[in-house]
Assembly symmetry: C2
Homo-oligomer: 128 residues x 2
DNA sequence: ATTGACTTTTACGTAAACGTAAACTAAAAT
DNA sequence: ATTTTAGTTTACGTTTACGTAAAAGTCAAT
């Protein structure tokens, strides 16, 4: 398995190294270290970072994203833990579904407004 | 036409009056005033507020929301203006569409993870 | 071997989006 | 008439999510 350096990841996702270190500060990502203390990121770390950035685009706070990541990450073996995780996952899934519906409604509204504007433009061009 | 007071709107949307005043500070909403200076909100103002809150849920900044609102709000009569507005609207519409696709992918991933967890729980329960 | 690019920690700075408190006015209720 | 209750402005405080700079160590290349 090979590793990414912090600046490689930063470049790939077009974010600053500070940002990546900040996510580590907040406990969202945990790269290993070389003897000299340099951070090294695995593919899994990269995937986590991708998740974080996607969450951000949806307006989730880092705190919320942190919770969601622990869903993917933790090996929750106990039955109680599993049940808890599933319940939490269902809740988050519902939130995501609602957001999608919400967004689709927004999309519809924007489309109808655009259609209206296009019509107006059409009329302007007809009477030229 | 009847009006809402600031605290009525705050209660309806479960936000603070400060928040509503802040949106006004930023030029997102413009209620009329009584002689004594009290703010009164029309249904249209209420609709704008709803739009703002929806935008926020999607992670748009107030600045972006401000731009989008002016799309709905302004009567852009000139042809150049219309064309500009349509172009901007199309751009924003594309962004929204991308976000929907992005969210749907997230949803799928969450669903498959949940399915995995449910399967594990199932196996635990079988060997009881 | 030394320059230059990269990395580390520490720490202070900042913009956005409000929270909160003070000091005051107006409206509603007792 | 006078307490509540709700509203106003002004202004400083706070959290989140980083930006930025300093001081020092490390890696890569000439």
């Amino acid at each position: 398995m090979n590793y990414y350096t912090i600046s490689q990841l930063a470049e790939q996702f077009d974010i600053s190294t500070r940002t990546i270190r900040y996510y580590e500060e907040r406990g969202l990502i945990s790269p290993i270290r070389t003897d000299s203390g340099q951070r090294l990121y695995t593919k899994k770390d990269r995937a986590v970072l991708k998740l974080i950035l996607r969450g951000k685009r949806f307006g989730f706070s880092l705190e919320e994203i942190h919770e969601m990541i622990s869903l993917f990450d933790n090996d929750r073996t106990g039955r109680k833990q599993l049940e808890k995780t599933i319940a939490y996952g269902e809740k988050k899934l519902k939130e995501v579904t609602e957001r999608i519906e919400d967004l689709m409604q927004l999309k519809q509204e924007m489309e109808s407004i655009l259609a209206d504007f296009r019509e107006r433009l059409q009329k302007l061009e007809e009477t030229e």
